[in-house]
């Protein structure tokens, strides 16, 4: 069954240390970065088709960002010492970048959300009563200037913030890719392509998540799903998806071609331990089928009826969300399934109820969605009291 007839692991290599939590973390920060890129399509590049979800994608990014540290804290051996990473960060380590990158991006995003919604905040401060009146007054920082000039200034600052935010979001997720890519001890992780693969697949997951959330939100509100918006998202999703899968395959093709020392163990890894999660989930169900569905939506856009376009994009996006999760699983868990001896494999099966198990992961996936609903109540993205169209 195993190559060379032996299964030898180094004695300290018996356990998988980076668990399902470490699969969830890049998944969540990927959604943060992806949602932000979609909002920047409108706020920086001025593409009108993305206007309907411009504000909603910012809220999505924020909701997931606020939950991003939770899987890490759950995983650490000493979460009470987690502040050490901010107090004495050692910047030769990619992981130490977390403190700076997270704080910087959080700041940019909070400022941008504040400015984008400021007009509504001032309006709510004016018209609400009781607790909420004070809440919105504080959020407005006691300034109620919504004159045309003020809003013009705001618009300029938003553009600048969104432009700074793009590299900010890219770094917040890209450093995770570098965290893996810089480990020469692990040939499945060590490649210059790793930060790029992580980033482009993050954009894929962000757009896909927004398609799904937007359609669900519109259905629940009983409103019409904006078709040019869906078409544009489908096109962007298709292009990024092609790029992602190309890079993912390129890495494996290069390893297979060079047939260096690590190829034997990686070849066995792909065909045995990861055969289902890589071939079936990541490539066939997660890449080939959405590719065909999205190709239909993009190339036959003019001929499609609205409900069909919505359904095709919804299904393709859902599958792509699975694909990106499978990719994170295959990289993080897959890289730990073989020993550093390159001669043995170990198993990883997360249990449902354990500390870093399936239930915890599901809760971590659901929590940002709940947070998004709450944020949308406080700062409604789809209606604006001050203008008929959302900003």
């Amino acid at each position: 069954m195993f190559f060379e007839g032996i299964n030898f692991l180094f004695p300290n290599d018996m356990h998988v240390h980076w668990s399902l939590m470490i699969v969830m973390y890049p998944y969540i920060t990927g959604l943060v970065a992806g949602a932000f890129i979609v909002s920047s399509m409108y706020h920086v590049f001025g593409k009108e088709e993305f206007r309907p979800i411009g504000r909603y994608s910012l809220l999505t990014s924020l909701a997931f960002l606020l939950c991003a540290t939770l899987p890490l804290l759950n995983h650490l051996g000493h979460p009470e010492r987690a502040l050490n990473i901010m107090v004495t960060p050692k910047f030769s380590s990619a992981m130490a970048g977390f403190g700076v990158l997270y704080s910087f991006y959080l700041l940019i995003l909070l400022l941008e959300v504040w400015l984008v919604f400021r007009q509504d905040i001032v309006e709510y401060a004016r018209t609400s009563t009781g607790f909420w009146r004070w809440f919105y007054k504080i959020l407005a920082l006691g300034v109620y200037d919504v004159s045309e000039k003020a809003l013009e200034n705001d618009h300029k600052v938003i553009t600048v913030l969104a432009a700074i935010g793009i590299p900010g979001a890219c770094m917040l997720h890209g450093y995770v890719g570098f965290l893996f890519g810089g480990i020469k001890a692990n040939p499945w992780w060590s490649t210059a392509l790793m930060p790029v693969i992580f980033l482009v697949s993050a954009v894929v997951s962000g757009i896909a998540a927004l398609v799904v959330f937007y359609q669900i939100a519109m259905k629940m509100r009983g409103e019409k799903i904006d078709q040019p918006c869906i078409s544009s998202m489908a096109r962007l999703l298709w292009l990024f998806m092609i790029l992602t899968v190309t890079l993912e395959l390129l890495e494996i093709i290069t390893l297979a071609y060079e047939k260096a020392e690590e190829w034997e163990v990686i070849h066995t890894l792909l065909t045995n331990q990861l055969s289902f999660s890589f071939f079936s989930l990541q490539m066939i169900l997660g890449a080939l089928i959405p590719f065909i569905l999205l190709m239909t939506v993009v190339l036959m856009d003019r001929h499609l009826r609205d409900p069909l376009r919505n359904t095709l994009t919804f299904v393709a996006s859902s599958l792509l969300l699975i694909q990106v999760f499978a990719m994170r699983w295959n990289v993080v868990i897959g890289g730990q399934l073989f020993s550093k001896s390159f001669r043995g494999f170990r198993d990883y099966h997360p249990h449902f109820l354990e500390k870093e198990g399936v239930l915890a992961a599901v809760m971590l996936a659901v929590l940002p969605c709940i947070l998004l609903v709450v944020l949308n109540r406080i700062l409604p993205a789809f209606t604006s009291k001050t203008s008929p169209q959302s900003e």
């Binding site: 060379e4 007839g5 032996i6 030898f8 180094f10 004695p11 300290n12 290599d13 018996m14 356990h15 240390h17 980076w18 995983h75 650490l76 051996g77 000493h78 979460p79 010492r81 987690a82 050490n84 990473i85 004495t88 960060p89 050692k90 030769s92 380590s93 990619a94 992981m95 130490a96 977390f98 401060a125 004016r126 300034v143 109620y144 200037d145 004159s147 045309e148 965290l179 810089g182 480990i183 020469k184 001890a185 692990n186 730990q336 020993s339 550093k340 001896s341 390159f342 001669r343």
Partner: protein, 273 residues
């Protein structure tokens, strides 16, 4: 018009006339804040920096780490696989069950290139006879531990400065600072590190730092009955390890990684990774 929409809140917000006053007021607030920020920042990046005296300090009393630079030599041609080293280490350092700061691997190789490798409990209880299913023409034992590299990939990736290299060449982990993220364990190409389940921090061989700084040898070196493990100080003129490194053909594990290990091997075969 927009002017008509003013409510009582906006009436108090007299923009045009207070423009200059607001500017000066806000400017002063910002300047004060910036001054505080810049003032605190450089002083507090390193508290120790304030109290450092001109004379360089070395830790501990009666021991000067500038006078030592340690190295370890393993002669696999002599190792008999008794596992007394593994036992001594786990007793000396209270290593938890199922984890190993040092271990011994057994290799049996056939002429056709078939390889059998095992390390039952790291070799702590010795080795029982085995039947690998082929006739082996070559067989040997390889003791292993943390290589205390000069170009440590593990200390490089520690995010909080818990893993560090001492001036006498030993790589240590500060158990009070380690957050248990496990990054160093992933980064070590030799599998030397593990996560201690009791302290939930990273652990590894320390070359018995508490012994070598008192002039003793590491527990594993002292336990070896055949002299397969040797510990040396490269700064001493008459050191045996230093002499062997200078005159005999030695190797290190995974040399291409360029981690510059300080555990040197005599007689290591190509099958050993």
């Amino acid at each position: 018009m927009k002017e008509d929409k003013k409510t009582e809140i906006e009436k108090t917000d007299n923009k045009e006339e207070l423009g200059r006053r607001e500017f000066i007021k806000k400017g002063c607030e910002l300047a004060f804040g910036a001054f505080l920020f810049l003032g605190i920042l450089p002083i507090r990046t390193s508290r120790a920096g304030i109290t450092a005296s001109a004379e360089p300090e070395t830790p501990g009393e009666g021991y000067n780490w500038e006078e030592h630079y340690y190295a370890y030599l393993i002669d696999t041609r002599k190792c008999i696989g008794c596992g007394m080293c593994v036992r001594a280490c786990s007793l000396e350092n209270k290593v938890p069950d199922g984890f190993y700061r040092t271990w011994v691997e057994r290799y049996e190789v056939s002429e056709r290139g078939e390889v059998y490798i095992d390390s039952p409990k790291g070799g702590r209880e010795g080795f029982d006879p085995i039947f690998p299913g082929f006739h082996s023409t070559k067989a040997f034992f390889v003791p292993k531990m943390c290589n205390h590299c000069d170009n440590t990939p593990c200390s490089q990736v520690c995010p909080v400065g818990a893993s560090y290299n001492t001036k006498d060449g030993v790589v240590l982990v500060d158990e009070k600072r380690c957050v248990g993220c496990g990054y160093c364990i992933q980064a070590c190409p030799y599998g030397s590190r593990f996560l201690n389940p009791i302290t939930r921090t990273a652990n590894k061989c320390t070359w018995c730092y508490h012994r070598i700084t008192k002039g003793l040898k590491p527990a594993c070196v002292q336990a070896c009955p055949v002299g397969a493990r040797k510990f040396g100080d490269l700064k001493r003129e008459d050191d045996e390890v230093r002499r062997i490194l200078a005159t005999e053909r030695i190797n290190v594990l995974q040399a291409e990684m360029l981690t510059k290990p300080k555990c040197y091997y005599l007689g290591v075969d190509r099958e050993v990774r």
